[in-house]
Every structure is written in C-alpha cells, then in structure tokens.
C-alpha cells in the first residue's frame, strides 16, 4: 500500500487516455476533480492486489454512458461514490477496496474518485487492461464469474439495483437501458469481487502501468523528444504506421459509434494506405488491404507531434497521426478471451491477428 502522489495524477490521465485505444472518454474532467481533491488535502492510496485477502470484498466501479454527455454533465466524485454505498447496503457488507472496470479512458479515475470520498484504497488492477464498450468484455466475464448484482445511481434521487441477470449480455442490456433513461450517464458498481477473484482474474498493476506510460510521454514531450517513440519504449509497443487522416466515416448502430478511417502514409510509410475500423474503440487495421492487427491487441492512434491519444470521436481529416499497437493482457489473448473480445465480437469475420507473435 502506498499513497498516489499528486504529481502522478496528470501522467495517469495521459497514460489512461492512450490505453483507451480511442474510447473510454477523455480523463481530463475526472483528473480535474482529483487535482482539486488533492489540493483540498485528500489523498488516495494504491493497494498491491497481492495484499488482498482471499475473502476481501472489492467494489468494481465505472462511469457508464456516452462520452459526449460527459462533456456537459461532468464527472463528480460524490456521484461516483453513490452506487458503492448502495451496494454495501444491499449486501450488508463493507468493501475492503475499490477498483476500475477499465483502465482505458476516464474510468481510470473512477475508483480514485470513490476512494477520495470513502477512504477505501484503490486496487492496482482493472478488468480490461484497456477500454471496451460492453460489460461482457471483461476478464471477469471471460473467467465466467457471476455478473450480478449491479447498482446504478443517477444524480437525481434515482437508484437501481439489478439483482440478477441471466448472462453478462443480459446485464449489459438491462443496465444500458436504465443508463439511457437517466440521461445516458450513470455511475455504477458492478458485481463485487472477492480478493481471490481479483488476484486470479483481474488484470494486475494497470494503474501503475498507466502512470508510468503517461510519465514517459510527458517527459519526452518536455525534452522535445519524440513522444510516440517514448510510448513505444515504455509499453513495449510497435509502430504500425505514420500518416495523415484522409477520410473518416462514422455511423451510429445499436447505440455504438462505428466507422473507419483511412490514412495516407508519410515518412517511411509514404505511398502506403492504412485503414482502421472502430466500434467506440479501434478494433482492426489494414495496411494496403491486408489485415495487420486486430483486437485484443491495443490499437492506439496518437497525435504525431504531441503523442496525445486521439479518440474515435475526435479523429478528423488532415490530422497527422501515428498508429501504434500495444500488447494485450494474456487473458484476452486466450481462446476464451478472443471469443469475448476478438475481432468477431466486433462483427469482423476474421481470426485474431497480433503483431506480438504467437498466442499464449
């Protein structure tokens, strides 16, 4: 157990936004909340998952909804903590710690917000190692752990408990419906996990990883070095392409942002054509018509100059970008993992293609 230092918050925001692989929403507003809480004297501790007792109870939290709504109805720690208290009341048990469902994007900060309000420590782990759009796309779902109960809170006095659900997909459908009704933004506490479950099935040490990644990018930017190269070095990634966005097409289907972007190469990639398809997050990419990488490999599009991640919503014609791949957590690369989060889970009828060699 250690304190998360104030000067780690900004690197966490930068790193988490990269790990968001285009989705998950920008961490900026959640970061502002944490910065303010720290300025007021609050501090949050980070817990090594190895220190969890097997029967400890861990809250798995997320801010659910449309990133765009989050730009008007802003991240709020009091609201983030509400479903956690609901869950404790419902279960009649107290949590030992809190963790994020996804380290990618704004949800990297959700457990920190809860921790600041409750005093619980944040477990250095999540259930994706990146961002994904749906509840069944977690390491806990891949491990077939129970998906209920779930608590959901609105800023008004609306609170919903989903006591049972027939499957992870049903849980996703029901909670999504409620979320839409309260303005497409809601704070949730997912099915609680035991210490043993987190240790066995969580993606471990991702908060530390995100902070380290963000710190490297910021250091490189400050030293006028290439922040993209720094990202690759810090996260054992591979550069896939450098180019300019030539075309972006988006369509909303079944409540998701789907689409693809075409990029024309510059520098060493001059003359090459790159295409990336997304469903909230970047899912699959082609180079000159041939698939070169698919989810669960992390496909990240970065601003070539600043190294800042570019979300699927803000990808625009003319941007100069570097596309990189970062290795996915091992559990996502297992056959069961690929069933949940491989290319077919996003409607692409193809096998998993990794730039990081054979599957484990």
């Amino acid at each position: 157990m250690r304190q998360i230092e104030r000067d780690e918050l900004e690197p966490l925001a930068t790193g988490a936004w990269i790990l968001g692989t285009g989705g998950g929403g920008s961490p900026y507003l959640a970061y502002l909340n944490m910065r303010k809480l720290y300025a007021e004297g609050t501090s949050v501790s980070l817990m090594d998952p190895a220190d969890l007792d097997d029967d400890d109870l861990v809250a798995v939290v997320s801010n659910m909804g449309a990133p765009l709504v989050g730009q008007e109805r802003l991240s709020d720690p009091a609201f983030a903590a509400k479903p956690v208290r609901m869950m404790e009341q419902y279960l009649g048990r107290r949590f030992t710690a809190v963790m994020s469902v996804e380290i990618g994007g704004g949800n990297a900060f959700q457990p920190l917000l809860v921790a600041a309000m409750t005093g619980l420590p944040v477990v250095d782990a999540d259930a994706m190692g990146r961002a994904y759009p749906e509840a069944q796309m977690t390491s806990f779902a891949i491990a077939d752990l129970p998906m209920f109960p779930l608590t959901l809170a609105d800023i008004r006095d609306n609170e919903v408990i989903v006591a049972r659900a027939a499957s992870w997909k049903w849980m996703e459908r029901i909670s999504r419906k409620v979320c839409t009704e309260v303005g497409s933004i809601a704070a949730t506490c997912k099915a609680p996990r035991t210490g043993a479950e987190v240790k066995a099935h969580g993606i471990l040490y991702t908060t530390t990883q995100a902070i380290a990644l963000g710190r490297e990018v910021r250091r490189a930017r400050h030293a006028h070095q290439d922040p993209v190269a720094a990202t690759l070095a810090a996260a054992a990634g591979k550069l896939l392409f450098r180019g300019k966005v030539a075309d972006v097409q988006r369509r909303a289907t079944e409540g998701f942002l789907r689409g693809n972007a075409v990029m024309e190469g510059i520098d060493d990639d001059r003359g090459a054509r790159f295409e990336v398809a997304f469903q909230n997050e970047y899912a699959i990419a082609w180079r000159d018509g041939r698939i070169i990488v698919t989810t669960p490999d992390l496909i990240c599009v970065l601003d070539s100059v600043s190294g800042e991640a570019i979300g699927t919503e803000s990808l625009r014609y003319g941007q100069r970008v570097s596309v990189i791949a970062l290795p996915a957590p091992a559990i996502l690369r297992t056959p069961k993992g690929i069933e949940h989060v491989g290319p077919r889970a996003f409607g692409h009828d193809t096998d998993y293609v990794s730039v990081f060699g054979a599957q484990p």
């Binding site: 507003l29 502002l32 909340n33 303010k36 909804g65 449309a66 990133p67 765009l68 709504v69 730009q71 008007e72 109805r73 802003l74 991240s75 709020d76 720690p77 009091a78 759009p133 800023i155 008004r156 999504r176 979320c179 839409t180 303005g183 497409s184 300019k244 966005v245 030539a246 988006r250 369509r251 909303a252 409540g255 998701f256 942002l257 689409g259 024309e264 510059i266 909230n280 601003d303 600043s306 800042e308 570019i310 919503e313 803000s314 625009r316 014609y317 003319g318 941007q319 100069r320």
Partner: protein, 508 residues
C-alpha cells in the same frame, strides 16, 4: 466593390484599400497606445494616397482582446452563473484557470438547479428563485457583467434565456453573456469562453467605440466590421458584445490575405519570417483548422485556430558551418547580418550571396565559399519541402504561396510543389485578409429521431439564418463545412451536426 482593411497588431497598424481583386493603396504605421489615434492615423495616411471613392465596408482585425487576456489588463470582475445542479457540482466555474487570471476576473460564483439532458428533457426544474437571489447578490457586490452557462444550452437555450430575463429585472444595466451564443458542446470550455467574454465587456465597448469614432472622424461613410478567428466578420456592435470572437484572427487574416492576393483557393501558404517559417493549408479559401483544444491566456477554449506547422528557419537564422539554426538574430537582422555590416552569417547573407535577393552590401558576402552557399540553400529548400509534405493531406503536387519578409528563401522550384507563387503586398497580408473577410453562420447541434438528411437540412437552414443575421447576402451563401458525428450510446439515431455557411457582406 471597395473595402478598407485595417490590421491593428501589437507593433504595426496596417491599412489597405482594395477594389474587387486589386490593392489600390497600402500603408504601414506604428500601433499607438491610444487605439483611436492609431486607427485615425492609419486611415488618414491611407486616404492621403488618393480619393478612396465609394467604400462599402471597413473591416478591422485586431489582437487587442487576445492581448488583454494574455497580459491580464483592462479586464473586469464578473459574476459567474452556472445552471445545471445537481449535475456537474464538483467542477465549478473557473476550475482550470490560471490563478492570476481567475483572481482578477472571478467576482462571484453561483450554481443553481436546472439545465437540460442531451435529448431536451430538463435535468430538474429551473430554480428561478435561486437565480433571482444570485442576481441580487451580484448586483449588491457592484458587479456589472455576468456570464451564464447552462448544461446542454447549445441544444436548448431556455434556461439561459429565462436567467437573462431575471437578471435584467434585478440589474437592468448589466452586460449579460449567455453561453449558447458562443459555443459548442463542452460545458467547461463553453463556460470559459463565456466568462472571458464577460470580463472583456467594458474594454470591448471602449475599443469598438474608439474604432467607430475614428471612422466617423474620417470622410468614409461605410459600416464597420471586425474579423473573427474563422476568417469571417461580425458587425461592430456584435464585436462589442462578443469580443472573444476576435481571438486568434491574426494568422487567419494573414493566410486569407495571401489567398486573395494570389487568387488561389487551395494552396499551401509558406510564411517565412525572421525566426520561423509557418506552413498552413488553404482549403476553399480558408485555413485548415487545428484539432487540439486551444488555450487563450492559459484558459481552455473551443476556438478553432489555423493548423500551422512552425519550423526554425527564417531570414535571420544563423548559419554555422554546415548547421542551420535553430538560433536566429531575429529583429536585429539589420545590425547583425553580414550584408548589413554585422558579424553573424545568416540565411539572408546566403541568399544575397546566391543572388536570390539584393539586400545590404553584396560585397560583404563575396568571400563566402560557393560550396557553402549552394549546400546551405539546398538544405533550406529541403527543410521547407519536408515541412510542406508533412502538412499535406493528399498525394500529388500543390501550389505554394510564398509570403513574409524571408520568402526569398523559398526556391522557385520545390519538390512536391507544382508551382511557387510570390504575391505583391505580402507584407500587409493581414490587412488584406481583414478587407476581404466574409460573413458566416454556424450551427453545432445534436439531432435525434430524424433522418440524417432532415437533420442536415435543418442545421443548414439555421446556419443560413445566422449568416444573414450577421450581415451576409442570402443568395450566394456557400456551405464550407459539414461535420456529422453519430453519437455512441445515444438512442434515436442521435447525431451531432456542425454546419458553417459563408457569404459576402451585404452592407447595411
């Protein structure tokens, strides 16, 4: 159609008279502390060059309001009213402002219940009693400017309008800025711009009145406009209410001026100054915009700025053996460069030695080795060509517009460019850009439960109306921007549509 363009910059005030597509007269004067005087002098000097004939518009581009924020001077304290509780409570107005600026601008903060959802439903009923209480406290404190921001007001402005009505009852003389007049989705950024606008109200009234007085004191009888950051104009009375629209209009005017002087709509503009070279792209006569959030005086805003790439190469760039820059003698070129009797070898000296330009005393660089001159020019050409290529978004050669005092560094033939075009009057491109600015109307809104076509049509019609309200002629309005983003997770086939229509000034 004759127009006068005036660029009131930090150092120089330039003025041009244009007729159709030609520059009739152009002058450069020094900016004075007294704005009225500077503009009056510039106008007088311009008119001294001959009878301007019938002038249909005078357009001023100014960095005055941007500089006021950056330098923290001439700003007034404001009352901030946020409508949207219980949402967004933890991040109050001024949350991410630099302390020195918020301590100057922040008079009072009030947050009350109200606001809307993305689909137009109220979050909770608007707390009008709380607004009245806030208005009284703001008035009691002697504050005279208020910025009002309500959640999702770009979709429905009801709450802000109701707040304005109540504020007016309690403080009839106050300046009131409503966020939906200024902005897009993004509560904090829109609120920041609203508060910046509120703190510039007294200054804007003073400055715009000075511009108006200077014009009235001249023999010109024409309406006065100010330029905005997107290369279009607003009426002087609009500028007095919304000074923030003038932020960052400088680079835009410069690029638009270059486009006009050359007659090109699509080209890469390479502006070589003393220290840096700025490369930007013109698309349909307007600069391509940058994507990143733009900060003004350390405050995040939603403004779009031209997408510029700057490299360390200019007329004053120092040459040391094989290396070029990044140091530059900058504005001291006239004392430092060899051709002017100085002791520093600069890019200008190389260009003089090569016969690219005739400046200073050529004899002073006669001893330079031809190999050094050739290799340096080859390298500077390469630097420019590389930068131009980095900014390209399409394969194929582009036309290059060479502007700026150091533009002799750009060779007549450059890799990746079909043509290098040099324009006369490029030193007053900013004032030309102001003179030729057009009028725009913009809409950025979320539509749901209608087809894409219906949504686009509705947005376009509203943008047209806004352009006409701003002074455009309806019949030649052109669509210059259409962005359509379906929204993830939102039902009803929701999409966010941004449309911009542009047209010529219609006069009074």
């Amino acid at each position: 159609m004759r127009r006068i363009g005036i660029d009131v910059g930090g150092t120089n005030t330039d003025a041009v008279l244009i007729d159709g597509t030609s520059v009739i007269a152009a002058i450069k004067t020094t900016t004075t502390a007294d704005v009225l005087c500077g503009v009056r002098t510039a106008l007088a000097q311009l008119l001294a060059q001959g009878d301007p004939g019938r002038v249909s518009a005078v357009v001023i581009g100014t960095t005055h309001f941007t500089n006021a924020v950056i330098e923290r001077r001439g700003l007034q304290k404001v009352g901030a009213l946020r409508i949207g509780l219980p949402a967004s409570a933890s991040l109050p107005p001024f949350i991410d402002w630099p302390d020195d600026l918020s301590s100057i601008v922040c008079g009072q903060i009030h947050m009350v219940q109200g606001g809307h959802e993305y689909d137009g439903r109220p979050i909770v009923p608007l707390d009008t009693a709380a607004i009245r209480e806030a208005a009284r406290r703001i008035a009691d404190a002697g504050l005279t400017s208020v910025g009002v921001t309500s959640i999702f007001s770009p979709l429905t402005a009801e709450c802000e309008q109701e707040a304005e009505r109540i504020l007016r009852e309690e403080m009839p003389a106050a300046s009131i800025t409503l966020s939906h007049d200024l902005g897009r989705i993004g509560l904090l950024e829109r609120e920041n711009v609203t508060l910046l606008n509120a703190c510039l109200q007294d200054l804007a009234r003073t400055i715009v009145a000075a511009f108006t007085d200077a014009l009235q004191g001249s023999s010109i009888d024409a309406p006065l406009y100010l330029t905005q950051n997107d290369g279009t104009i607003m009426r002087a009375e609009t500028a007095a209410r919304f000074p923030v629209w003038s932020f960052a209009s400088g680079p835009t005017n410069s690029m638009r001026g270059a486009a006009f002087l050359s007659g090109l709509q699509d080209a890469v503009v390479v502006d070589v100054g003393g220290t840096t070279t700025d490369i930007g792209y013109l698309k349909a006569g307007f600069p391509r915009e940058a994507n990143a959030a733009v900060e003004v005086g350390g405050v995040r805003t939603l403004f779009r700025m031209p997408d510029l790439l700057s490299i360390g190469l200019g007329g004053g760039t120092e040459i040391n053996g094989g290396s070029i820059g990044p140091h530059s003698v900058g504005f001291r070129l006239l004392e430092k460069a060899l051709v002017f009797g100085g002791d520093t070898l600069t890019a200008t000296d190389i260009a003089v030695a090569a016969g690219r330009i005739d400046l200073g005393e050529r004899g002073r660089v006669a001893g330079l080795s031809p190999a050094l001159v050739a290799s340096t020019l080859a390298r500077t050409s390469e630097m420019i060509a590389e930068a131009v290529d980095r900014m390209k978004t399409e394969a194929g050669d582009v036309k290059l517009l060479a502007v700026g005092g150091g533009s002799f560094l750009i060779p007549d033939h450059l890799a990746g460019c079909s043509e290098v075009i040099r324009v006369p009057h490029h030193a007053v491109a900013n004032a030309v850009g102001a003179a030729i600015a057009q009028v725009s109307g913009e809409v950025d809104q979320i539509f749901s439960n209608v087809t894409r076509d219906q949504a686009v049509t509705a947005a376009q019609r509203e943008a047209e109306n806004r352009a006409v309200d701003a002074g455009a002629i309806r019949k030649n309005l052109k669509l210059v921007e259409l962005e359509d983003i379906p929204l993830s997770y939102l039902p009803g086939d929701a999409r966010r549509i941004r449309v911009r229509m542009v047209g010529d000034i219609g006069g009074h």
